[in-house]
Symmetry: D2
Subunit: 359 residues, 4 copies
């Protein structure tokens, strides 16, 4: 009801404010007996701090995940897995200046009107720091999916006007982490870096697109009518801070395609039913068909910019603000693990839902 839980079977409840004691989460419905790789979870969490140090704002400390419950002798027990990531580097005093100000395109104004009260420290609950909880849960989901042969990989497809010109199928996934902007094509990655340099000099920010590919999904995941696999995926992606759009398969490109160009013909290959093209993006009628699932997630530019902006305060007075402190130039490199995490949470949830109809 209050919107802090996602999933039907594998359920994540997220909690915590940017400058409170900790960010944390509770996962209910994780299958029991799973041996977890905790180092992998910590690596995922720290991927949120992009490797492109200079375009990133993140705090200096390493985020360490402390598990409170639900794990016994290294394995999940089927009881709720709760965890905390402390906010060690939090400096609440930095934020007194903006306590009465509504920053443009931030959530300051809407939170205050909705609740009548607002934790103004660092964006409070609206801060992207909240996504750490998602990355922890997503990393666990990814490990379980991986044991079932399913892989999830996201990467940066576009930053501002710099776009990859390659089809996702021709990319070398293993190059993603080698790129400071998490774009697997070296040429594009270099262009993006240069582009970001320029934006940074301007004291400005820029948007971007993350693409995600999910491979080896079993046929049959997704629930008609409302909980179509791609519908739940869309919601999960749009729930990430700064996301403005989602498309899967051919997406908005399909708008100007004819049925005869678009339709994915079935054929048989190695005795398996496959489609010749994959414009549907691995999902038909809301249910996975075994082909690769792929989708794009569009992010707006980060709202906190150094440049001076006009806005108002609580007393409806006009003011100018220059937002100080650590701020990213572009969110997409750091958002790659978040996209993967949300994809994993949605997919594992549907994977478990499908179990209820099997004998």
């Amino acid at each position: 009801m209050a919107g802090n839980t996602i999933g039907e079977i594998f359920k994540l409840t997220s909690f915590g404010e940017s400058h409170g004691k900790a960010i944390g989460g509770v996962i209910d419905g994780c299958p029991p007996g799973i041996e977890l790789d905790f180092e992998k979870i910590n690596i995922e969490v720290n991927r949120r701090k992009t490797n492109s140090g200079e375009f990133s704002s993140e705090r200096n400390e390493r985020d360490d995940v402390e598990f409170i419950s639900g794990i016994f002798e290294g394995k999940t027990t089927g009881t709720p897995i709760s965890f905390l990531i402390k906010n060690i580097d939090a400096k609440p005093q930095d934020y007194s200046k903006i306590k009465d100000i509504y920053r443009p395109s931030h959530a300051d104004y809407t939170y205050e009107k909705k609740y009548g009260i607002r934790d103004f420290r660092g964006g409070g609950r609206a801060s992207a720091r909240e996504t750490i909880a998602r990355v922890v849960a997503g990393s666990i989901a990814k490990q379980i999916l991986y044991k079932n042969g399913i892989s999830i990989n996201a990467f940066v497809y576009q930053i501002g006007e710099v776009k990859m010109e390659l089809d996702y199928d021709s990319l070398d996934i293993s190059n993603i982490e080698k790129s400071p902007v998490r774009s697997p094509d070296k040429v594009t990655s270099d262009k993006m870096l240069k582009y970001l340099e320029k934006i940074k000099e301007e004291g400005d920010t820029i948007g971007g697109i993350i693409s995600c590919i999910i491979r080896n999904v079993p046929v049959g995941l997704g629930e008609p009518v409302f909980d179509k696999l791609h519908a739940d995926m869309a919601k999960a992606m749009l729930s990430i801070n700064a996301v403005k759009g989602f498309e899967y398969g051919k997406g908005f490109e399909s708008v100007s395609m004819k049925g005869s160009e678009y339709n994915d013909e079935f054929f048989v290959k190695n005795d398996k039913i496959r489609t010749k093209t994959n414009n549907d993006g691995g999902i038909q009628g809301g249910i996975s068909n075994g082909e690769d699932i792929y989708f794009n997630v569009g992010f707006k530019p980060i709202s906190s910019i150094k440049k001076s902006q006009k806005t108002i305060n609580k007393n409806k007075e006009n003011i100018n603000i220059e937002i100080e402190g650590r701020h990213d130039v572009c969110v997409v490199p750091r958002a790659v693990p978040i996209v993967e995490a949300m994809a994993a949470i949605v997919l594992l949830d549907h994977f478990l839902r499908q179990k209820t109809i099997k004998n």
Copy 2:
């Protein structure tokens, strides 16, 4: 769990197959004491049969909604509102030919693999006829929102390569129903009609985009973190048959915008807090800010085409099919009331959710 319910407070459960006895729904959580305009509901339901008769496939009979419960002396009682729309014109025999065939880009294959059984008559549960239930619930939601001053209007923004060149703000909403393709700009509408003519002659189909505008939304609707207003909207839209993409506010365009261009500055107008631009599309941090909410929904071309296609049957044999019968050239004109309906369901649900935190 099985995905046939949407909403947290205003909940629609949809049921029925294309060629079963009826399509229907149950609305639980509708506020009591609302006087309903039943003629308006029937009008909405019959809007699903596009006014562009020649590009449409719909059955000849008028769809009449029969209410079974939840209404007493013309008013809602707070108990579940259930309703049926009979499938009078259903001809199950038409479908025996395709009973063992997996039509390209349809849900035949995925349903069969998911459930091990499939009602093959007219697409069964996967048929777009299911959306009647949504339109009924949406029409009720729209009436309640309207009593609260909120209006929802969708229209066709693009068909294939023909796109409107106007900003939504400059459109005359009252022209939507005058256009056979539900596009309010006469010039564009005419171009679209001509374009559809050509596609029809080719025995082909084409995709399109529907835009939707919601006006006069109170500040404060939407629930962080996962149930952001636009995230729930995205899910609702992606749950509509043939939808491949969703974007709100500046959407994918914001990807190549700078923060200084994009950010919506606050100012005070007539003592009300407003934003100068509305790139955020009326939602900040997942919560409505009082500005217009607007979004685009991208549809792929209809999968049923007259042209011959290759595919396989259950026995993994290669076959050719030409899909006979009534089929649309383009889904978007008829999908306009469906987009409005889903928008209304999501918005009313969040409107009611917000009541729980008010004194």
Copy 3:
């Protein structure tokens, strides 16, 4: 939210008023491919009209269940199963007299205050006729459980002061339907009939207890912490009209037992882990342990009595009423199939929930 749905995976949404067009329901999450015995469903529904004709009020027509969706060629398809039972014999005019009156211990007053509006015809939504929807869903659940070896049997244990003196283990379940009051012990059954005769002559009504036994439940059903198997069972039973209490295993008797008397010691029998006694009633820590599950459900006397009663009307005027029309003397014989139905719905739901944690 509005309380008309029960279950997490096997979900029943009930709708309909006593004197509206029909009572009905939607079952979402029923496993696909199940061949249903429709005659059995009709038999269950008509069991609600007790075999003790003279103490019963039910309408004369046979209730026939019409299935609208979710079934194809006699089998469940995994899509929502919706159904209607028409209210043929409804006579709304009978009820105009009580339209402004709050009958003692009925829901007239509370419905009106809650919703500000009330369908006063025959109790409206508060009528026990609503339970038909439960019996239909329960009958389907029972059939699925039965295919998995699980049996559910309820019977009348007590009416007023007449109580069975036998342990449930010594009863012959096959005698239940032979007794006009659904009490399997002939001696008790005869006493109950005589007792009811007396109450009827007085123009009065009386309460009773139904016992229920579930056999052959697999170990492991039930979810700690809040959704303990017996907690969900309690809720389901208390949701039945006129129920005032629930106890399982030794129930309230255990209050005055010592741990050394009460505890169920484990032992091994035919290589299976069993308990010597079964005071826990087949559930430990909220999870089934493989022993018989048994529980008691206590019903208050029917509120509609022929005797004159004092009450008030909407205008807060004192009045006397004698409630006319068809009314039972005691609800428990007719409530036996309802108790079984609710038990089946809860148990099947947990049976399916347990599938999500199995490999």
Copy 4:
């Protein structure tokens, strides 16, 4: 799904094992802007350690609640309230002895069969220590209800064979905490203490009944059909460890009452609609009618006894066990705040649900 969450709007998710790092919870949906009395919360939590020191087993340390999120400057913010209570005094080594043993009437066997893995330290998740999370959430709920004029008081009505002979209406609620067994009648309380002395000497345990009274509830709370106020109350009570039965109003006593004796006649007092008797226990048709809500909760004897018992281990070998360590003689004195907490959680949830249907 996995059962660790209760509530629809005011939602508690509980986590933690008896001998893990902490017990904790997340409350989502708490109304914003509520000033909390933290000392009251700590008092409630420490009430779980009964004042009857000698019959209690609880650890020596005081349980302190640490709030992690959702509170800003002493007030709730509308975001999730998460909290921890550390398990300082946990001694995992104590439990190695019972790691392979299924203790009679404990959850050892069922947890292991359900999940295939079990945290055997001190009962793990099945330990009554989990209820601390409920008491914290319940204390917050109680504070909010209290601001709305609603009071909740539970007390011990019966221990073993010692039962109160007074009607609840004649009791002095303010005496509850003065009694070491939380029974407000001095005579009964003294008898209970003596009785417990005897049971303790025998190395045995005993059951009991807690009664609860809720006063000043507004008319209209509770949702027909399945979420009747008393049905949700029953589930909440049965979800407490060791509870075997629930009855409200006249409960099982009503079984042998006649309608003419039982029915609560309406009358007008000080211009308010009231009932002369209150056999219905303040709830009619599942909805509160403004009269006192009262109910009884029956507890079985504590399963851990000092006396030697027969049981088996994992290898199906017969063994004898004497359960060592700190153990209560009777759970009911300590369970009083737990019953109040669960009642408050259920009632506040329905209080907030009712807001959605008000204009």
